[in-house]
Amino acid sequence: MSFLGGAECSTAGNPLSQFAKHVQNDNSLQHDRLVGRGPNGALGGFRSAGRSTPQDEMMNGFLHQTPNMPEMPLEHQGPMGHAHVHVDPHHAVHLRAKSTSPTWAGDFQNPQAAMEAAFNVPPGTQFSADEFSKFQQMNGSASSSHASPMTGGGMMSQAQRPMMAGGGMMGMGMGIGGMSYGMMQRPMYQPMSTMYGPQLSQQQQQQQQPQHHDQALEGKGKGKVVELDDTKWEEQFAQMELHNQPDEALAMEPELNKMDEELLHSETGYGDLESIWRGLQNEQEAMKDMDVEEDFAKFDSSNFGGDNLGDWGMHGRIGADPPIQDYLFEDENMFQDQPNPFEEGVRIMSEGGNLSLAALAFEAAVQKNPDHVEAWVYLGSAQAQNEKEEAAIRALEHAMKLDPNNLAAQMGLAVSYTNEGYDSTAYRTLERWLSVKYPHIIAPQDLSSAAELGFTDRAQLHERVTNLFLDAARLAPDGDHMDPDVQVGLGVLFYGAEDYDKAVDCFQAALHSSELGASNERSQIHLLWNRLGATLANSGRSEEAIAAYEKALAIHPNFVRARYNLGVSCINIGCHAEAAGHLLSALDMHKSVEKSGREKAREILGGGDNLTDARLEAMTTQNRSTTLYDTLRRVFTQMGRRDLAEKVVVGVDPDIFRGEFDF
């Protein structure tokens, strides 16, 4: 069935081959599966040739052309892999058998004719800029006509994979004249296969790739495709859900929902207890040897925010969302007297300085000006990088309270929530992010509600948000121009569902994109490397993860989180001593600021006898990272060193371990 000889595999500049691929994309599949309705939907697939007579003629016409085909690829490049060809019979049959869309023929024919008219180009012509733009217009109108059926969940990316593989093998099918269709292939393909886009564009330059590509596609597509009829997917999906769900849980759900409502009502009183409790906690800590008046002043102001539960759509404490809490400021802050602590903080971060120091600067900035949204965002970001997730969440939530549409805060929160296990909240936050940046994909009023979600609902929410993001990704004209922020969002979504391979693709796409977004600007790239590393690590690819972390640390040696992650990966490959070293050095980065902070505090407070270490300790330790201490303890236990493990308490000075470990 290799009408095109080797041309099918070629993606590098051979218009006909690309056309072929394009045409071979079994679009009826996309018709069937709601998601797939992309520009490809317009052209139909090989299958349609079998069913529709006008296509038959074209097909025959095309087939007659095939003798010419082999020459083209040779002109353009060397060896084409044929390897993918064999893949497709399975898929071809598979796809054909499952096509049920009644409308594909209609969809196919109209744009078909129009496209043909537009693309009367003799074979072998290089496409020109106009053709491409004409194509794009066509593309645009075709995709908009399919836009509505396209919305809604579905396994688009998965559907595409078998499709592409199937496409590779099937013959010219459409027989649609015009080599320039091949060009359409490239730009259309990439938006569709979002995360695979960058892979493709790389492949276009490499000849060996097509084989891998198709095989890779096939591999990923297999076993994951769920057949959903486009019009009835929702019902089908719901049925599938029911099918999967344990019956008891299902039966109980309506009762449980009722119970939940009752619980909700009874919990509202709890809110007051919370703020009282928090107040008590603050008071207790602050009371330890500190001046009473100062304390009460701080106590009042820090509890001020306790009553307005940041109503940006999240009824935080009642659902499975994290309880919204106020940020806990360090009591002594050497930046308090600085004229412009915000700028100092920004400078420290851009120079890759100590993150605890930067955090202190931003704390001073927001204490001076509590409405400074950017400072709150920077504070959150600094604390997250400093491996102080809770502090980061509090700061970013505060930023959201001030500016509910702040994109940086939303993305940062989504990541933090994912790390902490508040998956549903993370998904809702991502949805919100999308509604701000791409309101035409989802309007702010259509956001999911903040209700408590069980596992099934959470899966549905995840599905929904993922598809919205895929829609956004499809807007990119090609692989190089993807919105890196959308890719990061997608990456986080896939990571949350433990779809690590896809997540890796997304983060890589973000790294390679030439479009400038918030995620890949120079000062943020180290974060991307870390995200990539964490995804690799959690999917078992420890060595690659370590390489990614090293890249992040090369850019920002003080990136505490990356160092923590490096430690975790060392544990995973069994290098416990090294892991301990990394964790200790991370703790050291925290301590060094505490120590210099203490020196400063001594100066400020005039030194003297009443300045005990304990008191100083209380001054510089509001947000301790329990993660680092817990993990260190675990490493020592795993090494069999209970003696060391016992020494690890929150706040311990890493120096005491210097004898045993290098850091």
Binding site: M252, P322, G454, A537, N538
Partner: protein, 125 residues
């Protein structure tokens, strides 16, 4: 007094969780977060079952047995529970694949995630 039952190797995790709830502050935080009593019934390869509960509603403690009035009960194999606490499996997946059965207030089951995350050593995004 260990909570671990040697016939259920993964139950060592209950001791670890108990340690994480050592101080009053930890207990209060966990109660605020969980606000439920989570009962676990593990089944080992021999077919025996044993229960533990994590009380994050009243006392902030881990104990043997189902506890009084568990808000939500989770039933799974000892092996799966082991994977769950180390982070190799996630509750969502176990549930969707039927390996984890939930009775009671199913909505509260998702609250386990943040609590379990604290016990896991995973890389951070």
């Amino acid at each position: 007094m260990s909570l671990k039952n040697d016939k259920f190797p993964a139950s060592a995790a209950f001791d670890a969780i108990s340690q994480a709830l050592a101080t009053d502050a930890d207990k209060k935080d966990a109660i605020k977060q969980g606000n439920a009593v989570f009962a676990f019934t593990l089944k080992n390869t021999a077919g025996e079952t044993e229960s533990w509960h994590i009380d994050l509603k009243n006392k902030g403690e881990v104990g043997k047995g189902l506890g009084e009035k568990p808000t939500v009960s989770l039933t799974l194999s000892d092996a799966d529970f082991g994977n769950l606490v180390t982070g190799k499996a996630n509750a969502q997946r176990l549930f969707m694949s039927g390996k984890l059965k939930i009775k009671g207030d199913v909505m509260k089951a998702t609250k386990l995630d943040p609590i379990l995350k604290k016990a896991q050593t995973k890389a951070k995004l």
